[in-house]
């Protein structure tokens, strides 16, 4: 008789891992035992390692395997890298590799870290006059800096710390609303925990200061701190990566397209992403295909990078492509300027065993070097995507890559795969075409 199913539960997080899996498979799957075994088959063979993975997140019952690939031949600022990439989309690593090699033969990527400032805020409301707060602001700053010392000593030693504290007035947009905006340098760490800990300490110091300082207390009254938190918008933590070469060196393209015509078409594709937000979104999505793959491989946080990057793309009031292209004076130039707040120490980078190996593979880069590498992979990805789009179209290469994946869905045998690959060598690949061909094969119609 079927067990009574319970779709909700109290105390799930308190169950041990097996208990969690048991509850899940018994209440949500038709074949509980098979699913339990399958989920457990993804555990790492070494218990210690698995424990590390389990404790990265909560309510963990298994691992989700993403392919760990490598894009070799990235020459960035005259140094060669084999870049680790973690991504579930086909064609991305192939495109990055192809683009890397293409530009290796044309001088490689040149980068510049433009700035590395990170920002956090104490958001507060007060109905009093903040004018007098300004008059004692030096005193407030000194007080905040003193009381936060236990948290900043370490970062100061590494050459980072708190750069500036400003008072911002938003009361015209929202009555009584102000900010303390704090700028940080966090060296080789992404710095989220450091920044948030400092801000929360600042917030309690700030409240105390306002309660105890005679000038402030009389004019400002009680302040209400709503929240204290870093911003993932980092338009002052920017890197530029660029490639360039004489237009005549761009090579020849399918269909007899000359280097010059290719350059013109490529330029137009970049230009379109500046004009039309519909195109800009997909253009930038391609850039992030490359960026996120390295961000993931190195244990950084891709949601933070994505949010900051896309907001930056909309900074002038219209969402636009993040890359730029010029074809002046016989020279092709293509570049990307993007905010990238990443770290190479601390956080998941030090915890995840494979993320640690990624950092080693990249030669233990500083955070600034990692910014350069990631931006270059993003640019390479964008170059490869646009190169395909303006020449053969992306579907030819992409669907060929995807062909084997489609075949696997139908549990094709190795023999069937070989036959199908031969058949589609000169045909348009689509899901249904592959399925139909496979059905014919299996029905011995061929």
């Amino acid at each position: 008789m079927a067990k009574q199913e319970n779709k909700t539960i109290s105390g799930f997080s308190k169950l041990n891992k097996r208990g969690k899996i048991k509850w899940i498979v018994e209440n949500f799957f038709k074949e509980p035992e098979a699913v339990m075994n399958e989920l457990m088959s993804y555990w790492h063979i070494n218990d210690e390692k698995q424990k590390i993975l389990d404790e990265i997140s909560e309510n963990t019952i298994s691992n989700f395997h993403l392919p760990y690939g490598v894009a070799p031949n990235f020459v960035i600022d005259q140094r060669a890298f084999a870049v680790p990439m973690v991504i579930e989309e086909s064609s991305v690593v192939a495109a990055a590799s192809s683009s890397a090699k293409y530009w290796m033969e044309r001088g490689g990527f040149s980068t510049e870290v433009i700035s590395t400032v990170k920002i956090g805020h104490i958001h507060f409301y007060t109905s009093g006059s903040v004018q007098l707060l300004r008059s004692v602001f030096a005193q407030l700053k000194a007080s905040l800096m003193t009381e936060v010392k236990a948290l900043t000593t370490n970062m100061n030693k590494r050459g980072g710390g708190i750069l500036d504290i400003e008072l911002l007035d938003f009361s015209e947009l929202e009555p009584d609303y102000y900010q303390l905006r704090v700028k940080f340098e966090t060296c080789d760490s992404m710095g989220a925990n450091f920044i948030n800990s400092v801000l929360e300490q600042f917030a309690s110091s700030f409240v105390r200061f306002c309660k105890t300082n005679d000038v402030v207390r009389s004019t400002l009254g009680d302040i209400e701190v709503v929240m204290s938190i870093l911003s993932n918008y980092t338009p002052e933590c920017i890197v530029r990566s660029e490639v360039s070469c004489p237009i005549s060196d761009l090579g020849k393209y399918p269909g007899g397209l000359s280097a010059e015509d290719f350059a013109k078409r490529f330029y137009k594709a970049v230009r379109i992403a500046q004009i039309d937000p519909y195109r800009a979104v997909t253009h930038n999505k391609g850039i992030f295909n490359g960026i996120d793959a390295v961000v993931l491989a190195t244990g950084n946080d891709f949601r933070a990078i994505e949010a900051g990057g896309h907001a930056y793309a909309a900074r002038d009031g219209q969402y636009r492509g993040l890359s730029q292209c010029t074809i002046d004076g016989g020279q092709f130039r293509f570049w990307l300027e993007i905010p990238l707040a990443v770290g190479t120490v601390g956080g998941l980078t030090n915890i995840h065993p494979v993320a640690r190996r990624s950092i080693e593979l990249l030669g233990h880069p500083s955070a600034r070097q990692l910014m350069s590498i990631i931006a270059s992979v993003g640019l390479a990805q964008n170059f490869a995507a646009l190169r395909s789009l303006v020449t053969t179209g992306i579907q030819k290469g992409h669907m060929r890559m995807h062909l084997v994946n489609i075949l696997r869905q139908f549990e094709a045998t190795e023999k069937e795969i070989k036959q199908t690959l031969v058949y589609f060598k000169d045909k348009v690949v689509s899901f249904s075409a592959v399925r139909d061909y496979l059905n014919l094969l299996r029905d011995k119609m061929l």
Copy 2:
């Protein structure tokens, strides 16, 4: 004697997997054998399964394990789900679970799929007059639709297909630049391959039509199709998820905060994200923490979701928070409206063995149901983050979660972990504080 290192390579993709690993470890690592063994230890024990994973991407040498967790107690449109989440950031799954349970006790999440239209473009240039193209547009449409039939039959059977084709004039922004904008319904698939294949077919039909139609040929001359591709900006593929309850039911909060005061502070936090882009980015980043975790677990493409979502956040010219809150008439209401172009069939969802299990765990949802689930997890995540921010601050909970991770970095024993947890029960957790305490422990100073 040290082997001569080669940091660049020709023919890497042609090497077999072991060959690739060998080249990588020998040229980039100090202990090649140990690293090779480590990378291989992440392979799945079953060769067939590993092969599937290997072929998802290119140049794959291992798997990157992300924690696979579950957030139970999501009641969405009166139905209970245990939601699979794949994420490398601590606290996210805990926050989603806590928020899910909180709202389960208050009526759960209500959702509405507002629309499911997807969009693609043929971007083209012509120096001729497009006025006459408009006069034969019905004829062009018919021709395009006929020639694409082989690709659309299957999608039509499933109830989807091509909804509309429009001609858009961008020539005021960029001389000679126009678009064919095509709208699609792709049912339960995300549809990227379908859309791109249709668009590329349209492009060649379009060029042929312009060459052979007498009216067009004489007035339009040659058209130049620059590219044909779907857009990841999907402001017509939108879902809304919302929660609401009487303010008095919101419960009590630390420090004696009443339900009413909590509601006011929460409202302010949502409002601030509408005003200040710096806050909006982080606000939305928190939403995507939840969204991307489900997107990944179900084999969907988080770069596409991120790009479309953030561009949507900037649609009125300023980047703003994606969620909204009202506290009118004694009622607390909190909701999220977001574009989510996801699929439950096709793509990686059918290929990745654990993604398939995720779909099963969710009860084989349609794409529309998956939109509802994902939006609800995003909203839950946002609720949990704001609830922490406006009450205790996020660092208290977050650093406690992170504490064990910090300890693992220092290879703390189970005994050391226990002692440290006890010690920090009433203290502020920071990386350096934990390290210092652990050093004292180890030096037997305690």
